[in-house]
Symmetry: C2
Subunit: 187 residues, 2 copies
Amino acid sequence: MSASKKPQLIEKALIAFNKGGYQAVGMDRLAKETQTSKTSIYKHFATKDDLIIAVLDHRDEKFRNWFVRRLEELANTPKDQLLAVFDVIDEWFKEEDFKSCMFIRASCEYPDADHPVHQATKRHKRLLLTHVTGLAEQAGTKDPGALARQILMLKEGAILAAHIEGPNGVAANAKSAAKLLVEDATA
Amino acid sequence: MSASKKPQLIEKALIAFNKGGYQAVGMDRLAKETQTSKTSIYKHFATKDDLIIAVLDHRDEKFRNWFVRRLEELANTPKDQLLAVFDVIDEWFKEEDFKSCMFIRASCEYPDADHPVHQATKRHKRLLLTHVTGLAEQAGTKDPGALARQILMLKEGAILAAHIEGPNGVAANAKSAAKLLVEDATA
DNA sequence: TTTGACATTTACCGATCGGTTAATGTGTCA
DNA sequence: TGACACATTAACCGATCGGTAAATGTCAAA
């Protein structure tokens, strides 16, 4: 495999892990589904964990790019973007292959805080928090850090609810909660 | 193993799964940590999944009993109990072996909705929702079902945050959000 | 003391785990 | 055409997976 095919490998591995889970998908199955020999995979990644981390870092970039762009497409002001968070995740929940958040699932499969896979989740969540905190600051809210964390708690609770009970009404209900929080913080 | 030791087996298996994860802990390791031979384990449970489900159902009972009792110890009115949710989970977050919620982790390791382990999570979350909805009704809130779901979304978002970033300030921040929701719903 | 029922241990099953080694293309420059 | 570098394949490694069969221990009734 040429180096130029590495991104395609990551992309296919992402789909496989999202469908089957990190531990449940073994390297043999991964080789099959990515149409790449195990030897070629191990040319690019020293261990399975390294591949998982590459997949997560790729997912982080792709997801945040999409997420922020959709926020900006749906809302003009920072305040409205804080609420648009829940319209954007509603789109996500209704995707065919939605199976919760790949980072949440990673932190559940690798629960020890010092595990490198767990830390990839930490990075992603911190970057999201930074962005939302920025929005809360621009919106002129009382305590931007606290508000951002509250909104992200609603977002992640909504992800779990949508995964376990199905997406119907989940995002809308979280949004109406967020509306109260944002209103109070801008009063 | 006599039938009377089955509860002890479940209890020890719970500890092992909580520490190591459902897939990562194999039956051999489980036999070692529970001081029970594999054959004896399979006398009581046909498959590993059956054991996991028994562990989760046991955890469901134990957790909800503790949770509801602590709510009642900390608050007298239904309205205050809705907020005490976050004081109780704060106690939980600070336990030494806190590693997120065993049901969330189960639904992440077995993400397919029709998997029997995933359904055990569904049962638990529904029973919790029933209780909290009851509190919201007794508190005379506008839309008890919606409020209960919002509070549980905050609770589960807080669980993830406490797991990934550590417990400091998480529950308190979620509580101040819940306070606004409850106030609005009782206005 | 022998027998029968049951609990427990040991050894084992084929499959798969993450990862490696050795052989086999395949294309490039001389 | 020959030789070298490199990409790719297939076969293989010991360990472990979930689960089972056969051997061993234990104890009570006859």
